[in-house]
Amino acid sequence: MPLLEIKDLHATVGDREILKGISLTVNAGEVHAIMGPNGSGKSTLAQVLAGRELYAVTGGQVTYQGQDLLELAPEDRARAGIFLAFQYPVEIPGVSNMYFLKAALNTIRKSQGLEELDAFDFLTLVRDKMTLMNMDQTLLNRPVNTGFSGGEKKRNEIFQMAVLEPKLAVLDETDSGLDIDALKLVAHGVNTLRSPERSMIVVTHYQRLLDYIVPDFVHVLAGGRIVKSGGKELALQLEREGYAGLGIADDEEVAVA
C-alpha cells in the first residue's frame, strides 16, 4: 500500500480552479520533487495536503495510510504524521519557540498513545536536533519566528520537522530566499532526516535545491496538472531548457501564496 495516493484532485480558491486533476503516488521512503512555474499550483497542492481551509477540494481522492485524508482536520493530519514546512513561516509573538514546539510534540505523542515528554527530556531531544540544524540555542527562547531572518525561519521549519519526525514531509519552497550556505544547511538537515520510513514531497521552483536534495522522482506541474514525470534527470533537463523547453509558459493568472 502506498503511503499517499492522490487521484484526480481538483481544488479551488474562491471560484477559481487551481488544481485541475492531479494524480500522484508516494511510497514510503521516496522523495518526490514537484517543480513548476509560478502559479502552476505547487503551493496549493502542498496546502491542500495539509488541510488549509482557504482551498476547497472539488473533486478527486487523497488516501494516506489507507484512510481518506480529506476527511481529516488539519491537526489530525499533523498528528497522523503529515508535516508541512511553510513557504512563509508564521510569526506568533509572545509564544516561545520552545513552548510552541513542546506543545506540538506532546499533542502528537499523546494522539499516538505515547507519553508526553517532560521539560528535561524535551530539552535533551531538542539540543540534539539543534546541533543538526546548526541552530543557535537562543532561538528556542525567542517567540515563534518573530524577528527571525528569512534563513532562520526556514531552518526553524526543518528543525521542527526534525523534532516532530513526520512520516510525510511536504516542503513548500523551502529554498526560496536562502543564500547558498543556508541552502546547504537546510539540505543537510533534510538529507539527515531521509529514511526508508519517511517520504517527502519537495516543492520548488528552481532546480538548485535538487543538487543537494536528490529526489527519486520529479514531476512538473503546469496549469494545475502534472504534465511530465520522470527521474532526477528531468530536473536537469529543466535546468538546461527551462519550462519553455517543455512547452510551458509561466501562468501569470494564478498566483495564490
Binding site: E53, E75, R77, A78, F83, P93, G94, V95, T107
Partner: protein, 482 residues
C-alpha cells in the same frame, strides 16, 4: 466559513462558566437611597459619628453630581432608587451543609481552576464552620501578621479597632467628592479591606481578599484602604476567579493606596464578575475608582489587573507621583467578549522630581466586545526629569468587535521624556492554521496566542495569581472548536 473563523466565533460565543446563581437568604433593607438609608447602614455597622457625617456629606455632594457620560460605554439609565444598598447574608446555616450538596458542575469548574477543596467549600458558601476552622488560613496568618504590627482585616473592623488610622487616611487619595461613583461609594460603602504596614516592615506574604471576603460576603460597594508606612512593602491580591454571589447589577468600589517614603505597594487584581449572557443580558456594571498616592520619596505603586468579567468596566487605577523619585506602574489585560464593554486605563500624575511611570495595556476584544484604553499622563511643572513609557496593544478576535485607544498626554516640564507605543493585531487565520499544522487544536492555538499577547502583563502578577489568570483565560477558551 472557515474553521478558524468558526473558532473565533465559538470563542466569542462561549458561555460564562461561573454563571451559577446561588440564592442565599439575606438581610436586606428596602430599595432606594436617602439619608435614612445611610443612617441605617451606619447604625447597622455601629459606626462612630464622624464616619456617619462623612457618609452624609458624600451623599449630599453626590446629589449634586451627574453620572459621567464621557466613557466609551453604553447602557440603559440606572435608577439609583431601585437598588438595595445594604445586604448581608443570613446565618450560614441556611447554606449547603457540605460539598455533597453543592452543584457538581460548579465543583468541576473550581477543580479546573485549581482551587483547593477547602477554598471550594468556602466559595460555594458551605456552612461548615469546621471546614473553615480546619483551614484557619485567616486566623493563623492574622496572628502572625499581628506580631509584625501589620493590620489586615475588614474595613468595619478597622473602623472599630483603629479609628484614628482610618480617619487619618480615608478619602485622602480619592476624596468623597472625587466623582459620581466615588461619592456614591463614600455614602453607602458596605465593607472592604483595610491594611496598614508599619515602618520598615516587609509583609512576608501576599495579602489576599480571597479568604477574607469569602468568609463574609461583602456588598457591591467595597472600600479598600492600604497604607504602607516608611520603608514598608506589601503585595496585595484582590478578587477571585470564581463567582461572587452578586444578585445586584451595580458594583462601585473605591480603592485608596498610600505609600510613604521608600514604601512599595503592589496591587494585583483578577476580575471575573458575571459579564452577562451571549445576548448582552445581565452582568455587572463595574464602576470602580482606584488610585494610589506615592507620597514619600522613592516610593512605588504598581497596579496589575486582569479584567475578564463584567458587562461594563469603567476603571482607571492611577498613581499620584508626589514624592521625588517615586515610581508608578500599570499593567493591564482587559478581555471583552460577547457584548461586554470596557473603558479602562490609568492616569499617571507626575508631581515630584525624577518620577517615572510605566504603562503596559493589552486589550483583547472578541464577539461584539468593545475595548477602550483611556490613559492620561500628566507631567506637572514641578516634575523635573520625569519619564513615562506607555505601550497599548489591542488584539481583535473576529470582525464584530472593536478596540479603541485614547491616550492623553499633558506635559508642562520640558526636561521630561514621554514615550507612547501602540499596536493593533488580529489573530490571523494563518497563525491558527500554522498551529493546527503542528498538531495543536484550534482552541489551544487561540489560547496560546492570547497568552503570548498577554505575557508581559502576566509576568508582573505574583506566581500563583499568574497561574490562575492563565487558567482563567484557558478555561474561557474551552469548547471553542465548532
Amino acid at each position: 466559513m472557515s474553521d478558524s473563523t468558526q473558532t473565533i466565533e465559538t470563542f466569542a460565543n462561549q458561555e460564562y462558566k461561573w454563571g451559577f446563581v446561588t440564592d442565599i437568604a439575606a438581610d436586606t433593607i428596602p430599595r432606594g437611597l436617602n439619608e435614612d438609608v445611610i443612617r441605617l447602614i451606619s447604625a447597622k455597622k455601629e459606626e462612630p459619628e464622624w464616619l456617619l457625617e462623612w457618609r452624609l456629606k458624600a451623599y449630599r455632594h453626590w446629589l449634586t453630581l451627574k453620572e459621567p457620560t464621557w466613557a466609551n460605554v453604553h447602557y440603559p439609565k440606572i435608577d439609583y432608587n431601585d437598588i438595595i444598598y445594604y445586604s448581608s447574608p443570613k446565618a450560614q446555616k441556611d447554606g449547603p451543609k457540605s460539598l455533597d450538596e453543592v452543584d457538581p458542575e460548579l465543583l468541576k469548574t473550581y477543580a479546573k481552576l485549581g482551587i483547593p477543596l477547602q477554598e471550594q467549600a468556602i466559595l460555594a458558601g458551605v456552612a461548615v464552620d469546621a471546614v473553615f476552622d480546619s483551614v484557619s488560613v485567616a486566623t493563623t496568618f492574622k496572628s502572625k501578621l499581628k506580631d509584625m504590627g501589620i493590620i489586615f482585616g475588614s474595613f468595619s473592623e478597622a473602623v472599630r479597632e483603629h479609628p484614628d488610622l482610618v480617619r487619618k487616611y480615608l478619602g485622602t487619595v480619592v476624596p468623597a467628592s472625587d466623582n459620581f461613583f466615588a461619592a456614591l461609594n463614600s455614602a453607602v460603602f458596605s465593607d472592604g479591606s483595610f491594611c496598614y504596614i508599619p515602618k520598615g516592615v516587609r509583609c512576608p506574604m501576599e495579602l489576599s481578599t480571597y479568604f477574607r471576603i469569602n468568609a463574609k460576603d461583602t456588598g457591591q460597594f467595597e472600600r479598600t484602604l492600604i497604607v504602607a508606612d516608611e520603608g514598608a512593602y506589601v503585595s496585595y491580591l484582590e478578587g477571585c476567579t470564581a463567582p461572587m454571589r452578586d444578585t445586584n447589577q451595580l458594583h462601585a468600589a473605591v480603592v485608596e493606596l498610600v505609600a510613604l517614603d521608600n514604601a512599595q505597594i503592589k496591587y494585583s487584581t483578577v476580575q471575573n464578575w458575571y459579564p452577562g449572557d451571549k445576548d448582552g443580558k445581565g452582568g455587572i456594571y463595574n464602576f470602580v475608582t482606584k488610585r494610589g498616592a506615592c507620597r514619600g520619596v522613592n516610593s512605588k505603586i504598581s497596579w496589575t489587573q486582569v479584567e475578564t468579567g463584567s458587562a461594563i468596566t469603567w476603571k482607571y487605577p492611577s498613581c499620584l507621583l508626589i514624592g521625588d523619585n517615586s515610581v508608578g506602574e500599570f499593567y493591564s489585560v482587559a478581555l471583552t467578549n460577547n457584548w461586554q464593554q470596557a473603558d479602562t486605563g490609568t492616569k499617571m500624575i507626575h508631581i515630584g522630581k525624577n518620577t517615572t511611570s510605566t504603562i503596559v495595556s493589552k486589550g483583547i476584544s472578541a464577539g461584539h466586545g468593545q475595548n477602550t484604553y483611556r490613559g492620561g499622563v500628566k507631567i506637572l511643572k514641578s516634575a523635573t526629569g520625569a519619564r513615562n513609557y506607555s505601550q497599548c496593544d489591542s488584539m481583535l478576535l473576529g470582525d464584530q468587535c472593536g478596540a479603541h485607544t485614547f491616550p492623553y498626554l499633558e506635559v508642562k516640564n520640558t526636561s521630561s521624556q514621554v514615550e507612547h507605543e501602540a499596536s493593533t493585531s488580529k489573530i490571523g487565520e494563518d497563525q491558527i492554521f500554522y498551529c493546527k499544522q503542528r498538531g495543536i487544536s484550534a482552541e489551544d492555538a487561540v489560547s496560546m496566542i492570547v497568552h503570548g499577547f498577554c505575557k508581559e502583563v502576566f509576568k508582573e502578577l505574583p506566581m500563583e495569581f499568574a497561574v490562575e489568570a492563565q487558567k482563567l483565560l484557558g478555561v474561557s477558551l474551552e469548547g471553542s472548536v465548532g
